[in-house]
């Protein structure tokens, strides 16, 4: 086994009996089960892990968690490769393949680092200033800049993994399983409340997993965590989710979680499980126990590989045993960093010194460090970091009395680790996502959650609201759990709050937002604020000089906080620096509003299994399998799949459609019309209601008869159409367009419920109660006669626009004599469970007549030949019945119907509105493009004055020529005029005609 040179021989939460092999940039390393990629790299002495975005500066691991800005990794190969993952959150597995990003040809020799040499010439705002002028030139620059931008690479193949998503509900959702969250879960869970406890790490325990000496209830922290987890696991209504990040907090306590189910097993081992899972949780109360993130100090060249957060080093030493033999200098403005000094010393790291920005620190931890022999250099600052690809040492100088500068001689200390602590910022992201405010706390020099919003029921506890002492966190957690459960009606005992003894008191921190150097900021070394987007303190100063002083401007000008880490370690530092420059309080610079996601989420979890055929429901009629078996090509009509046409072997679409269209006018054809919307209307006011929603009159329609109706919106524009039949005095059966069915149903209910609730009428959707097949053609009556004994089909007994109940092929049917082709036609309505039987019976009996099934395209051609409109094709929400030439359907006798008043507006009465007309091209074989623009006068080039557009256009085999419908300004007064359709490279002339091309006298309806 290859040695891990910086690994401690014992301790930590790694399993030394389970070595794991991995590669980083092609080189083989070993780590242990329980490692993250970051801890394993550190154990192997690898400190250089990436290059920065803009300047390609060499970078190392800064943190041990979600806030990591530097150690971004391209993980995995081929179709499973994933960019920009944080090494600090990648769990190590055997065979893991990791690559660094943003470097070429290698991490140590990177040509992009030339940007670092010319960095003086590419300050913040450089791209805006340089490439945006002249405006057009951006089109040219963009492709080069885009190529240089971006960190990792996305996979080009389809994602091979399975993803899962589900809904969940609970009483308490607790986010964060550190001391606060665990205490909450224990207290609430004991009462019997339904609890979901989530934590983004591989193990529950949060900060307790990094403790070396802390004790809770007399147990070592790790043992207390184990006991707590065991107790929670035994509770039936408690769900524990590790490896799960709560990434979004939406309205009404709806929180989205992403669980990494098998990422930690690698691509092969997890093949039987989903890779990741999206949880959409609705909680009665949300407890935000998300802890806090340590802020780095902003000092000169603070980005050298080997510069790290003090707390991160503590985690790597205590939890992973991966810092052996390193030599550290710590700079701090608070007592907390002394914990790192003490623990590192115990873990075999040489801590040369703690450089304390405070002049006279006397806290208990400080004293403990001093007692351990650690040198404490108070009132000093690190003014520079030496080393390029790795830290080799620091320069330390005394601070001036006002703390804003340094003075006298510098002292050089050799080291390979520079740790800093600038205090802690509560993780307020989820609180902020609810759109609640954050407020500034002078005590901890950080933003803490403000009041929660009404409608959201949540509570921030522990580190997440600026309470850092362990005893306080546990007490708050216990209170949140027991009070939360009690509020929700759980009366059970919540047990004793966990206790801690002998927690050292800490002194206040000293806010120092820029650690001074011996040169002015911006000269010599670089003071990085936002590591990932390469924003320095000098950039913030530039933004200030150029007037970008509010947080919103600062952010956009410098790109501070806009990288994939959303500025988790940089936002407060940048705001504080800007506040100092403006000489105002920090909150008056503003705060950033956090938005989802907290950390990036894979698109796969959003889709779950809903991709491919599951992306959207495919609605199928009862005859669907028949259509499939008989070669139908399908068309999407909303969610329905309808037969488009039925090609015979060797036929083109044109051939097939022509054959189908001809058959409808010469023989007998059949079409599946099931998808039309159908609404059952019952009640004594049903006819009154129809009078209001349709433009024509319905009172006198006799039972057994049908009528075509046009529905308008309040604006007088055509909204839907269809045939409605009177079943009995107070009972109607309405049909709607396929796409309009749900809209019409809502429309009827809205008017009934909101405007006319006193009217006695009920509406019920019966679209799917009936399957519908329409027989069209002169032979349709003959065919039907063979299959029914109880329905007379002659014109006198069964006239056009009436319906009959009876039997066909032995099963009950309702047949409507209505026609969308102008031919003799019968619409057979039957039970869907009988539909295939009837369809087959008709096909069998119709064989001798060469019965032809046709699809939606032939249906469109046939109705266009007759000039029948399709709502949504001939209309677009701006077309009145008069525009369509359908004044005949406007009841003169009715005092009111929906849309009537709007038709009296000046604009809707104009005689020169766009009218529906026919268009015939000079060349009978030229089929116009639907949507084609129409002009009266052709110019050399656009723009030309458009007078309308083509709404429908087909080749009509029955007319032996092309036909088109169009909306043309003043069209009805232009009959016979020639208009023009300018296309690319040619102009097609066409003559305006009546919008009707076949059987102009309407004689064919009776066969």
């Amino acid at each position: 086994m290859t040695a891990q040179k910086n690994r401690l021989g014992q301790g930590g939460r790694i399993d030394r009996t389970k070595p794991l092999r991995f590669t980083f940039d092609g080189k083989i390393y070993y780590g242990y089960q329980g490692d993250t990629l970051a801890s394993a790299l550190l154990a192997n002495g690898v400190t250089l892990v990436g290059r920065s975005f803009k300047y390609h500066r060499p970078r190392g691991i800064l943190s041990a968690g979600a806030e990591e800005p530097n150690a971004l990794i391209q993980l995995g190969l081929g179709d499973r490769t994933e960019p920009n993952l944080r090494a600090t959150q990648i769990e190590l597995y055997d065979g893991l393949v990791a690559e660094s990003q943003n470097r070429w040809p290698s991490l140590t020799t990177d040509f992009g680092a030339a940007n670092s040499v010319i960095q003086k010439f590419i300050p913040s705002g450089f791209y805006y200033k340089t490439f945006m002028w002249p405006a057009k030139a951006w089109m040219f620059y963009e492709k080069f800049i885009r190529q240089a931008a971006g960190l990792g690479k996305g996979p080009t193949e389809q994602d091979p993994d399975r993803y899962d998503k589900l809904y969940a509900s609970c009483d308490l959702l607790i986010i964060g399983a550190g001391p606060s969250g665990l205490a909450t879960a224990l207290a609430a869970g004991r009462t019997g409340a339904r609890v979901i406890l989530v934590d983004e790490q591989q193990e529950l325990g949060g900060s307790l997993l990094s403790e070396r000496t802390a004790e809770i209830d007399g147990k070592a922290a790790a043992d207390w965590v184990a006991a707590a987890v065991a107790e929670l696991t035994a509770m039936p209504d408690v769900t524990l989710l590790s490896r799960t990040v709560a990434w979004a907090y939406y309205d009404h306590n709806s929180v989205s979680l992403m669980e990494r189910v098998t990422d930690h097993l690698g691509p092969v081992a997890g093949a039987n499980q989903p890779r990741q899972r999206l949880w959409r949780v609705r909680a009665k109360e949300v407890i935000l126990a998300t802890g806090a993130i340590e802020r780095p100090l902003v000092y000169s060249d603070n980005d050298r590989p080997g510069c790290m957060l003090a707390s991160a080093a503590r985690t790597y030493a205590n939890r992973y045993g991966s810092m052996r033999g390193q030599r550290a200098v710590i700079m701090t403005n608070n007592d907390g960093a002394y914990r790192t000094a003490l623990d590192l010393t115990d873990a075999g790291v040489t801590v040369f010194a703690v450089v304390d920005l405070r002049s006279n620190p006397q806290g208990e931890l400080v004293k403990a460090a001093r007692a351990k022999g650690i040198e404490i250099i108070a009132g000093h600052a690190i003014t520079g970091v030496k080393g390029k690809l790795a830290v080799t040492g620091v320069d330390v100088m005394p601070l001036t009395a006002d703390g804003k500068g340094v003075t006298s001689a510098s002292r050089h200390i050799h080291c390979d680790l520079v740790l800093s602590s600038g205090g802690w910022q509560p993780t307020v992201h989820l609180h902020s996502q609810t759109r609640a405010k954050v407020v500034w706390s002078d005590d901890i020099q950080a933003f803490v959650p403000g009041d929660k919003l009404p409608g959201q029921n949540n509570r921030s506890i522990g580190g997440a609201h600026g309470v850092f002492r362990l005893a306080d966190c546990l007490a708050e957690g216990h209170a949140a759990g027991s009070e939360g459960a009690a509020k929700l009606g759980f009366g059970g005992q919540s047990g004793q709050a966990p206790t801690v003894s002998d927690e050292p008191a800490e002194e206040a921190l000293l806010p120092v937002w820029i650690v001074p150097s011996d040169k002015p900021v911006g000269q010599g070394g670089k003071h990085f604020v936002d590591y990932q987007n390469d924003v320095t303190a000098a950039d913030v100063m530039l933004a200030h000089r150029e007037g970008y002083r509010s947080v919103e401007h600062l952010k956009r000008y410098t790109t501070m906080g806009m990288a994939t880490d959303q500025g988790k370690t940089s936002n407060v530092n940048a705001l504080a620096i800007m506040a100092g420059l403006r000489n105002v309080e920090i909150p008056s610079v503003g705060t950033t509003t956090f938005r989802p996601p907290y950390t990036p989420v894979t698109l796969g979890t959003f889709s779950g299994i809903d991709k491919g055929d599951f992306l959207d429901p495919i609605r199928k009629t009862a005859m669907h399998q028949w259509h499939e078996q008989h070669g139908a090509v399908f068309e999407c009509v909303g969610q329905w799949h309808r037969p488009y046409y039925y090609p015979k072997p060797g036929e083109s679409m044109h051939d097939a459609v022509n054959r189908e269209v001809k058959a409808a006018r010469t023989g007998v054809t059949i079409v599946d019309a099931t998808t039309l919307g159908k609404i059952d209307i019952q009640g004594p006011d049903a006819a009154w209601f129809l009078n209001m929603v349709y433009t024509n009159a319905w009172t006198k329609l006799e039972p057994g008869r049908c009528r075509y109706g046009l529905m308008l919106g309040e604006d007088g524009m055509v909204f839907d159409d269809g045939v409605t039949s009177r079943i009995s005095e107070n009972h109607f059966h309405m049909t709607t367009t396929t796409g309009g069915a749900p809209r019409v149903m809502s429309w009827l209910e809205e008017w009934h419920q909101c405007e006319w609730p006193d009217k006695k009428v009920y509406f019920t959707s019966v679209t799917e109660q009936w399957s519908v097949m329409a027989l069209n053609g002169p032979l349709s009556r003959k065919l039907l006669e063979e299959l029914t004994t109880d329905i007379p089909l002659d014109d006198d007994s069964f006239p056009f626009m009436s319906f009959k109940d009876g039997h066909l092929a032995g099963v009950p049917v309702r047949i409507f004599r209505i026609s969308f082709t102008g031919e003799l036609a019968f619409e057979v309505n039957c039970k869907p469970s009988h539909a295939l039987h009837i369809w087959r019976a008709l096909m069998q009996a119709g064989e001798k007549y060469d019965i032809t099934p046709y699809g939606t395209e032939a249906m469109h051609v046939l109705r266009a030949e007759k000039g029948f409109i399709i709502v949504g094709q001939e209309t677009d929400g701006t077309i009145t019945p008069y525009d369509l030439g359908m004044g005949w359907i406007m009841a003169k006798s009715k005092t009111d119907f929906l849309g009537r008043r709007s038709l009296t507006r000046e604009d809707t009465k104009r005689p020169d509105r766009k009218h529906l007309v026919g268009l015939l091209t000079d060349n009978p074989n030229e089929v116009l493009l639907e949507g084609g623009q129409i002009v009266a006068h052709v110019k050399d080039k656009p723009p030309m004055d458009m007078i309308g557009h083509v709404t429908s256009s087909y080749y009509s085999p029955n007319c032996n020529r092309s036909i088109a419908l169009a909306l043309v300004k003043n069209g009805r007064n232009r009959m016979g005029e020639t208009v023009y359709l300018p296309y690319e490279g040619k102009v097609i002339p066409a003559r305006i005609t009546e919008p009707k091309f076949f059987d102009l006298e309407g004689k064919r309806i009776n066969g």
């Binding site: 998503k165 809904y167 495919i618 669907h624 019920t764 019966v766």
Partner: protein
């Protein structure tokens, strides 16, 4: 009268009867099936009007449920609450021809409506210890036994379909009423999810 073989259920093409014979029911986490051709009659009326509730009771033998999202059952007939003035009378197949006219007759003189919707839906049945896990993938309602139990129903979304969900026992078992045009999609979607929880097909 049409022969039974001529009548096809919405999920007929999946060959569920044959698959039901393949067994595995004892060890399955979830059992899926189709309950086809159920009689479903939509009724509308005023639940505060004794004439209406009496009429329903006289024809069906069941009290009209007035508590939201609940089901009353007597013998083979259940009445499912859909809304304050809307219910489904649900029973065994082929009873519409008898019940629809009887209800209409009983409602004479009232403003009440009866419409047969039996043919518009099929019922996907789901049962077993893992049924809730399957439903949680598609339904956002809280189906925890403290919240939703036998005798409760709800109109809701499942995957991307509108359904009516009715819990029929505490195994738990549920009836999922779905429009037939969506049933092919919803069946395949549910079966795919259920496969992860140990699937058998019910008779």
């Amino acid at each position: 009268m049409v022969e039974a073989y001529q009548r096809r259920s919405a999920l007929n093409h999946f060959g569920l009867a044959a698959r039901a014979n393949q067994g595995g029911h004892a060890t399955a986490g979830v059992i899926l099936g189709e309950s086809a051709h159920r009689t479903i009659i939509n009724i509308r009326g005023d639940a505060n009007d004794a004439a209406f509730t009496n009429a329903v009771k006289s024809v069906t033998g069941v009290d009209v449920p007035t508590k939201a999202n609940t089901v009353n059952k007597a013998g083979e007939v259940s009445i499912l609450w859909l809304g304050p003035d809307e219910w489904w009378v649900v029973t065994t197949p082929d009873r519409s021809d008898e019940l629809v006219p009887a209800l209409r007759q009983a409602f004479q003189g009232q403003h009440a409506a009866v419409i047969d919707v039996s043919e518009s839906r099929t019922v996907i049945t789901i049962s077993g210890a893992k049924a809730r896990d399957v439903l949680a993938r598609g339904i956002s309602l809280d189906l925890h036994p403290q919240v939703f139990g036998p005798g409760q129903c709800a109109q809701t979304g499942m995957s991307k379909c509108n359904v009516l969900l009715h819990q029929t026992d505490d195994k738990p078992s549920y009836d999922i009423y779905v429009l037939k045009s969506f049933s092919d999609y919803l069946w395949q979607w549910t079966e795919k999810i259920a496969t992860n929880f140990g699937l058998a097909i019910g008779a």
